[in-house]
């Protein structure tokens, strides 16, 4: 009898386990379609773009013999003679296949002037005869500079850290070591710093404006509360482009705000409020403010009013009661809002593009520039990789510290 029960119990447990597994699989199947969709529409595209930041097949594909010859060279002193003849052959091929422009553009990212040097040389490479070294030098004396060959050698590797280095304003010397670019060529570190600075200032402004407003709304009667909340949500729902348009209308030199300033301080008092950093800060704060107000407000509603009353009855001044009791309890809401504002602000593109002028541009605008205008996709991917890395770290922090189920939309 006893053994039979044990067997039954064992089977039962086994069955439970199996049915539990089946149910789990069923649950996962519900999520699967969306997961598959996002993988194809979103995750793979981003991954393959980021791959461009380290992938570097152009030179080794178009100039394969040169790549092989230079790989045998240690990068010190003069390049081997075999490299000259290999490059002569490769350039003739590249000229015939019309691929010289591609490799020349690619090389120009490594070293300014390489584009014209390669194109000029390829045009006459067919007439080259040994000794090749002299033939090259006859076209342009730059070919006698080992650094030019060193640059070619590094660029012919299949993978490169060069784009990431360029993204943090480093450049490679011919011997392969990294150094900082000359100060007047440093752009990206400054842009990253500016992006961080803008995101920080916008977050602070959102806190300074959003916390008191959330407090005010949370301490009204229920009817007023709901009405005021709709007033907060109205700009939240309004098209971003509409809001940006309004700020241009309001802040431009002949706009309403400046008309007001001129009325008080005379025509000379007009300020430059848009198409610069000020414009970016004002418009971004306006757009992101509801993201701060909503979570702060919902936490404030959950704080029982008895707590501050108790503090006051125990002898605290209203200020102490607020500062020591109410504020610490509502801080999680403000932190949730602040972190979200900061994350969203880091990747801002539209607002700075439209109202940022030159001084209000952020890193996203530079990424777009390299993707669509300069066509330096490797650098765009490297800049994007750094930005995405920062955002992902903060996003994980948000998920861990605050919880994604706390994300609410109004």
């Amino acid at each position: 009898m006893g053994t039979a029960v044990a067997v039954d119990g064992f089977q039962l447990a086994e069955q439970f386990k199996r049915s539990g597994k089946r149910a789990r699989r069923g649950t996962f199947l519900l999520v699967l379609p969306l997961l598959a969709f996002l993988t194809v529409s979103f995750i793979l595209p981003i991954a393959s773009m980021l791959n461009r930041s380290v992938e570097d097949g152009t030179v080794s594909q178009i100039l394969p013999r040169t790549a092989a010859a230079l790989r045998a060279w240690n990068g010190k002193g003069r390049p081997p003679f075999s490299a000259y003849s290999a490059l002569a052959d490769d350039l003739v091929q590249a000229q015939l296949q019309d691929s010289i422009g591609k490799v020349a553009t690619r090389m120009n990212f490594e070293r300014a002037g390489m584009r014209s040097l390669l194109i000029k040389t390829a045009r006459v490479a067919q007439t080259f005869e040994p000794p090749y070294a002299q033939a090259f030098n006859a076209v342009d004396l730059q070919w006698s500079d080992p650094e030019v060959w060193g640059t070619l050698r590094h660029a012919s590797a299949l993978h490169t850290a060069g784009y990431y280095a360029a993204a943090v304003d480093e450049t490679r010397k011919a011997d392969g070591t990294w150094i900082e670019k000359p100060e007047d060529e440093q752009v990206y570190i400054m842009l990253f710093q500016r992006t961080l600075w803008i995101a920080t200032v916008v977050t602070l402004l959102c806190f300074l404006l959003g916390y008191p407003l959330a407090y005010y709304i949370a301490h009204q009667s229920e009817r007023t509360r709901n009405l005021l909340l709709i007033l907060v949500l109205l700009p939240f729902w309004t098209s971003l482009l509409v809001r940006t348009t309004s700020w241009i209308v309001l802040l431009q030199t002949n706009g309403l705000v400046n008309d007001g300033i001129a009325l008080i301080g005379g025509e000379g008092a007009r300020l430059e409020l848009i198409h610069n950093m000020t414009g970016t800060l004002i418009a971004m704060t306006h757009v992101l403010l509801p993201f701060m107000i909503l979570p702060t407000y919902s936490v404030m509603l959950s704080v029982p009013p008895q707590l501050t009353r108790a503090a006051v009855s125990l002898g605290a001044t209203p200020w102490t009661a607020f500062w020591r009791v109410y504020f610490p309890m509502t801080l999680p809401g403000a932190a949730a809002g602040g972190l979200l504002v900061f994350i969203l602000a880091l990747g801002y593109y539209i607002t700075p593009a439209l109202v940022g002028g030159r001084t209000g541009q952020m890193i996203s605008n530079m990424i777009e520039f390299h993707m669509k205008t300069s066509l330096n996709w490797g650098l765009a991917a490297a800049l994007g990789g750094i930005l995405l890395g920062g955002v992902v770290v903060l996003y994980i922090a948000y998920a861990r510290l605050i919880g994604l189920n706390r994300l609410r939309l109004g």
């Binding site: 098209s239 348009t245 996203s364």
Partner: protein, 282 residues
């Protein structure tokens, strides 16, 4: 002055200050929207109030910028494109997002936090990175410069809104109701359509409206993926703002403000319908 009277005075001053501060912030939030509307009726091509407008002279106002929209086939094409793309992507995002949210809301979902983070990530990934990745990838499979490409991109961006709204709705959903339905003989499909769906419908519709609004306002993926045949309303506004900002833009903006106010009211009414007034703790 007696002690209580002084305290009373101070409380009144404090209340006045806090109200004043709140009014100022509301002014900051709403004035930009409010200013656009009257200016869109300006008879002159200026972005400030003319003296005729300030004296409410009817000559100062006109509908010429609205006539501009009505007479411009480009705007009509843009409105058509925007509606087509927004409706299609909202439909896809709502179906996929609702299914996934039902899965995420079950207690036996493996790696729930991880999957939730993945499904919401399109909300926080910088838009230029997402749009750039899509641009290269969709070009390689022939989806660039097609409506379908933009619909897929907007579906991706709309999914987080549906997932967030639906998981919030489902967290308050009593699973015992489904058990009760099946104990009364309903198969899972019947139970879903007759019990689950009617109860979560308000949340689903709000999520869909969010996704719709997101698509209707999206410009960056359109800039990357769209060709001349895929110009949407935001795309038209974008070039309007960048090149020569004309008062026609203000007329479009006014129409969009009205439109988004209607969407907001719809969502708020759904919320009321969903949460009984007594439990409106949000």
């Amino acid at each position: 002055m007696s002690e209580p009277a002084k305290r009373f005075d101070r409380a009144r001053i404090e209340k006045g200050i806090s109200t004043g501060f709140a009014v100022a912030i509301f002014f900051f939030l709403l004035a930009p929207l409010a200013v656009i509307i009257p200016l869109s009726f300006n008879a002159e091509p200026y972005f400030t109030f003319t003296s005729k407008m300030l004296t409410l002279d009817p000559d100062g106002f006109s509908l010429r910028w609205y006539r501009d929209i009505a007479e411009n086939p480009q705007w009509f094409q843009a409105i058509g494109n925007s509606l087509l793309i927004a409706i299609s992507s909202t439909f896809l995002a709502t179906v996929l997002g609702t299914l996934a949210a039902i899965g995420l809301a079950r207690s036996n979902m493996p790696f729930r936090d991880f999957f939730m983070a993945i499904l919401i990530s399109p909300l926080v990934v910088p838009i230029v990175i997402a749009a750039g990745g899509m641009y290269f990838f969709y070009s390689s499979i022939g989806l660039a410069q097609t409506h379908l490409g933009i619909i897929l991109a907007h579906t991706t961006l709309g999914v987080p809104f549906v997932v967030i709204t639906m998981t919030a709705t489902l967290s308050g959903f009593d699973r015992n109701l489904i058990k009760a339905a099946s104990s009364l003989g309903a198969d899972p499909i019947t139970a879903f359509f007759r019990v689950t769906l009617p109860l979560v419908a308000p949340g689903m519709i709000s999520g869909a409206l969010f996704a719709f609004a997101a698509s209707f306002d999206e410009v960056v993926t359109v800039l990357f993926l769209g060709g001349p045949d895929q110009r949407t309303i935001p795309r038209q506004m974008w070039s309007g703002i960048r090149e020569q900002i004309s008062p026609t833009i203000l007329a479009v903006a006014t129409l969009l403000i009205v439109f988004s106010s209607l969407l907001l009211l719809a969502v708020e009414m759904l919320r009321r319908w969903h949460t009984p007034p007594s439990a409106s703790g949000r």
